[in-house]
Symmetry: C2
Subunit: 339 residues, 2 copies
DNA sequence: CTGAAAGCGCTTACAG
DNA sequence: CTGAAAGCGCTTACAG
């Protein structure tokens, strides 16, 4: 099979201990021995087994990542950032795409444990009782990225969703809109579900605008549900002049639905999205959106996780990590002159 | 630290051998012992170390995947399919997003070797001499998915790109187009670079149409390059009535460029894409595209790789694996009545 | 500075 | 059916 440390030792005429020492860059190896060892490594094409190393060092350099849907631009962008940060810190990623399948998540968490990953990143909010129990006694640092599930005490890397949604709604109000619809998210998630909804509602009421339930729907953050929810809104007696969707995907779905109904964005209905994903620049008209610092969130997630790992539970981040949001106006909203 | 097999054995009052046996589902263990062991496992929350197992079994159940750009819908879709197939066969993914960085690829291949992955999937064509040499003597099955780099003899899972590009071009010709532009790919890739270009050219010449180099550009498959290449084409004296881009991303970039120049798709210029990614249904007008069976390609890639793994080099796939393509007409092309 | 030996947490012949 | 022992490929005290 593959060449092992013993083969290198034999070829170099030294002990495996010595080979191990030059492998790990220890000093106290005479130069000529070091030279012989390195030459043997070179000639044999020796690459040490991380498996064996992990067994003795108890370090796997592995981080397990659970992604709800890797084909979503938002998640794949965070993931690419996570990957980059992890990689540059010497960590590798075990990636699990659960696509709504809770059983798969449980299976994967077990695999993560078998593989002795040093930390886990979770990016979805559908945490049930069984999973909560499991990760609680897992004895491995867990961090949530971009979500904050209910009833659990792990750190989340998020933005101030309430404030962000409030400001996004105010943007529309500032443009003169008074009939503003809403396509929300999952209420099992505190921030992207509940807080964004509260932000929307409070912005309206603070500005003396009525909350019209006919214009309010809840989706699953994906394009199709944005489309479907928008269609329901379009069936109403009176139409809103603007819609705020809490993900860019849903906003694009809504835009497409409006387009397919022969209405114009922003001529007939303005649309605001949320996330600031690449989609915003991909569609026409370009989508105005409340931007999350997606890429930065990925690196902060890994950075914090690495601190948790090296501190072995002693590190206190001081609770959730709140990143800065920023509204980016593009071409999907218009000013209402005569409401 | 974590509980190990010895702890279970002690608690159950048996030898570690016996625990190992019930763990691995061997028969020849008396029911009452099995019961005691399982109870001990349960009570201790024992999960065996895959690291230790791998060391003795020489099986890691790991597949290394190199993706050029995980944020691209095309690649993330293949990846999700790869993940699903691997997972359901008991394999886990070590994912590397190289984002154009050849050095990173080399680093990752080394890590793959250290981790003793059982197989490797590569999804990009920029294989240089150093990398070629490395994977050739890696002694691990390698398979290329959706690409076929030059000068290497590993299996690729691809479609008949020549024929597909030919048919896509013919679709436009069939609609009456005579001035058909082309936004191509990377010539280092035989199929998606060279063959698609040949398919386009031969379709034109077979139908007595002229090849106009003013309308031909080459990009990197991404949205931005589609946009940029289209802008160059739009600068020409005479405009084509249609453009065929060899990726949906570039086609969307081209559509956006046309839109930003106040021209209509398909009114002024028809656009055909390639891949059949989710983007085709996301944009308006919906993009007509030559569809690759993306999801199936992912599962076939893993399926073939697993055969290569279990056959230990004895399995002969009979060369590249050619999947079926299919043109899907949507709304981005119009019929030319008076050319 | 260098090496023999023990040990990381498992599995697998080999005996019984 | 069950267990003691060797071994997977490394690292790390411990001696020298």
């Amino acid at each position: 099979m593959a060449v092992k440390i013993k083969d290198v030792a034999k070829k170099a005429g030294v002990s495996v201990t010595t080979v191990s020492r030059v492998l790990n860059g220890e000093k106290y190896v005479k130069d000529d021995l070091k030279l012989r060892v390195n030459r043997a490594i070179e000639e044999l094409g020796y690459v040490p087994s991380q498996i064996a190393r992990s067994l003795v060092s108890r370090k796997t350099n592995l981080i397990g990542v659970i992604v709800p849907d890797i084909t979503s631009n938002f998640y794949s962008t965070i993931l690419s950032s996570i990957e980059e940060t992890a990689s540059s810190n010497g960590y590798n990623l075990l990636v699990c795409n659960i696509s709504e399948d809770i059983d798969k998540e449980f299976k994967y968490l077990t695999i993560f444990k078998e593989m002795r990953v040093e930390g886990i990143v979770i990016m979805h909010e559908k945490i049930n009782e069984e999973i909560r129990t499991f990760i609680n006694k897992l004895n491995v640092p867990v961090i949530f990225s971009s979500v904050k599930p209910m009833d659990q005490e792990f750190i989340s890397v998020i933005i101030d969703d309430y404030q962000a949604a409030y400001e996004a709604t105010e943007h529309l109000i500032g443009l003169g809109h008074e009939r503003i619809g809403f396509i929300g998210g999952d209420m099992r998630d505190i921030t992207s579900g509940q807080n964004r909804y509260s932000g929307y509602r409070n912005a309206l009421t603070d500005h003396k605008l009525k909350i019209v339930y006919e214009w309010i729907r809840f989706g699953d953050y994906k394009v199709q549900s944005g489309y479907d929810m928008m269609r329901e809104i379009l069936r109403g007696k009176q139409l809103p002049t603007a819609v705020f969707a809490v993900s860019d995907d849903m906003a694009v779905g809504a835009m497409n639905c409006i387009y397919d109904h022969k209405l114009q964005v922003p001529g007939d209905i303005s649309v605001v999205g949320f996330d600031g994903s690449q989609l915003t620049e991909l569609v026409r008209p370009r989508l105005s959106s409340m931007e999350q610092p997606i890429y930065e969130m990925g690196s902060v997630t890994v950075g914090t996780l690495l601190k948790l790992i090296s501190a072995e539970g002693e590190y206190d981040s001081g609770g959730d990590i709140i990143m800065k949001h920023r509204f980016i106006a593009r071409d999907s909203c218009r000013r209402i002159v005569n409401p």
